[in-house]
Symmetry: C3
């Protein structure tokens, strides 16, 4: 990374503070997530120190969202009946002032997904977390070309680098009035007024399914425990990536990595997070910055 | 625990006998469980020595319940269409004289769950297994106060100690004519005529998601292999808790614990269970026992 | 095994070639599978080197099948609404000339399953993969008796040996014009013109749930990466079984085996596969071969 040209000078809260809040408050996090992520998301939320609950049916999802401390919605294995529950839950969370997180899995792939994301975005998510291809698909006009031929991802895996999605993330954050996180090799987070890169993580993480989906749950836990949503998201991403680095030390492959990752999330201290987080506040990217390098 | 005042003197069957029956007969256990528990419940049932089958659709759940040796129903990720399948399956199991187990997850949280539990209880479960908050929610008038402000649990985790639910369990067992198990630090099992405490277990068990849900499946396997339902339930709980104790020896955190637990369930011998089970028959708690200490 | 009487003399492609294609092309594999297998199937496909996507809803399953390189359908936790999505996806895959794999879980158990399998078979699967009891249930007239009393499996586990299903597999392959794989201790694969036994594997594999279902996904990845479907299937089965052999070296039970298996799938080289695959081309079994021994 080149050094930032125009850094917001307000110091960020140390990420360990947000982790301490999660562990002290054990927020009840309602997750409407996909069938692949159900189990690891719950285990990862427990390892983080939160209390996960998977409640999706239209008949109770809104009622539960008012009890929970945060809601997360992931459209991975979408269907119309599940979308109904998502809409009810998101509306209730927004109405009750509870933070909620949207994970628009493979939103570029089908009409059903594009329509679902559009309707969910209308319900004021606190945070949108996706890979580069997904964030570009939500704000396509602002995609920064890299020469590669892409249409926002053919499947669930990103086909664009994070850098190509940074302007899209800013546009989305400004339009929605929310935080947007693009995760990948170097994560990017913005709320339209502030931005940061988070460099923690490990190449083995994308080799385990649903770790991105479970990260959405973890972001929900951090937001649900209180604090500034932008800072909480930055903290959650640094914590998650650092746990990945720790897990890789003991792993012989993606199977053992998945296990070590749960242990690392559980064992990582707030002090270690403050020490080893690699968070770089940067200027908010703008299409008018002619000299910038993305 | 203070020593029991009035112990039923009939000796219980050694728990290893029930485990031997499971392994000898490999009962086919139909599970209608939640999306989080699907995979670990199946793996745990295989490790125990049973043959798991996840069959939930209304169109076949009843037909299958007549083939299976036992049925278990867990309302963790409930929806109306799944409730239809649960009702059909439970009715068929009851009609065919097959044992069936109800796990009323988070029954206190929403109207949908309370209504589902009420309808399922009408279909004569052989065993109801839940945490303290769930059992209290099913027989709320008998909750024993501990001074804490509670309404039967806000999410899926118990907010009440087991001891606070023992009278509720007895009331429920008497009303339903079934076995009731309250699981927690010290498990409590009763059929209204007999009661026991089971002290096996490990603090890491609640840190792995769905272990309670999977225990419901294991209880189904023990009941499906034949024997007295009260004794089978006591044996299943001691076996499960003891495997947790063994698993903890090799675990660095909840990720490795989950793996070691499967290995321990598979490797635990009936002889070891007979030797290390911590089962204490106790007098059936009654609201009329003025001298009792809950 | 006795030596084959009439071996097809054309040499098979070495299995490592198919594995190299999967890793080079990272095929996008759409899986409509059951709730137990969702997570392990995705992790196993990632370990193999493919890109898994779980997309099942009728509203998008066909649209997605045209994007994907292969489709796999597993009826493990079947329901009518999921069957709708399966039929739409299979029809789209067949229409677009994409390979698709059918896994008829427990097809003998209920009317819903028999009807679903019948309708799916009409949509020209490229490969049908099942255990012996399932394949016999699809072509029951050709079951070869072993003296055991069986009706094609009561649950999800096979109650017949592979050998008893070989004639059924040939009949099914000829009738459907597809490849049929019967997996078990010694796998059998045929396309009606060729046949092979694959002896790789380990006794611990059936102790982990959904490994058969995930193998269906792996077969989809091998077919989706191009090549002859019969040879691809043989290669996939040898690769999978050999990974099981490697995994067993480090396992203390089914829990640790599951983890080691993912690591082994990821780490197994194409050269090691070519070296240690135990593939035996055999004559296509026929009911008219009076001297044969099944």
């Amino acid at each position: 990374m080149s050094p930032p040209l125009d850094v917001d000078q307000r110091p960020l809260e140390p990420p360990g503070a947000a982790l301490r809040r999660v562990r002290a408050r054990a927020p009840l996090v309602q997750n409407i997530t996909n069938f692949v992520a159900m189990n690891p998301a719950a285990n990862i939320l427990l390892a983080v120190g939160a209390s996960p609950a998977m409640v999706h049916a239209r008949e109770e999802a809104g009622e539960f969202a008012r009890i929970a401390d945060a809601l997360t919605i992931n459209i991975g294995t979408l269907s119309p009946v599940w979308l109904d529950g998502m809409l009810v839950a998101a509306a209730a969370a927004a109405d009750a002032g509870k933070p909620w997180v949207l994970d628009p899995v493979a939103v570029g792939a089908t009409a059903l997904r594009r329509d679902a994301a559009r309707r969910l975005l209308e319900l004021s998510p606190s945070l949108v977390r996706g890979n580069a291809s997904e964030i570009i698909a939500l704000a396509p006009a602002t995609r920064v070309g890299t020469g590669a031929d892409t249409s926002g991802g053919k499947g669930v895996d990103a086909t664009d680098p994070v850098a190509a999605a940074e302007l899209a993330a800013v546009t989305l954050a400004e339009r929605q009035g929310c935080v947007v996180a693009v995760t990948g090799e170097i994560d990017f987070v913005t709320d339209g007024r502030r931005a940061a890169h988070i460099a923690n993580g490990h190449v083995m993480m994308p080799q385990v399914t649903a770790l991105g989906c479970a990260l959405t749950g973890v972001c929900g836990a951090f937001l649900g425990a209180g604090g500034d949503p932008f800072e909480c998201t930055v903290a959650a991403l640094a914590y998650y990536g650092l746990a990945g680095e720790h897990a890789a030390r003991g792993a012989d492959g993606p199977g053992s990595f998945a296990l070590c990752f749960i242990d690392a999330l559980s064992g990582l201290s707030a002090d270690a997070l403050d020490k080893d987080a690699r968070i770089a506040p940067i200027a908010v990217p703008s299409p008018h910055d002619a000299g910038r390098q993305w």
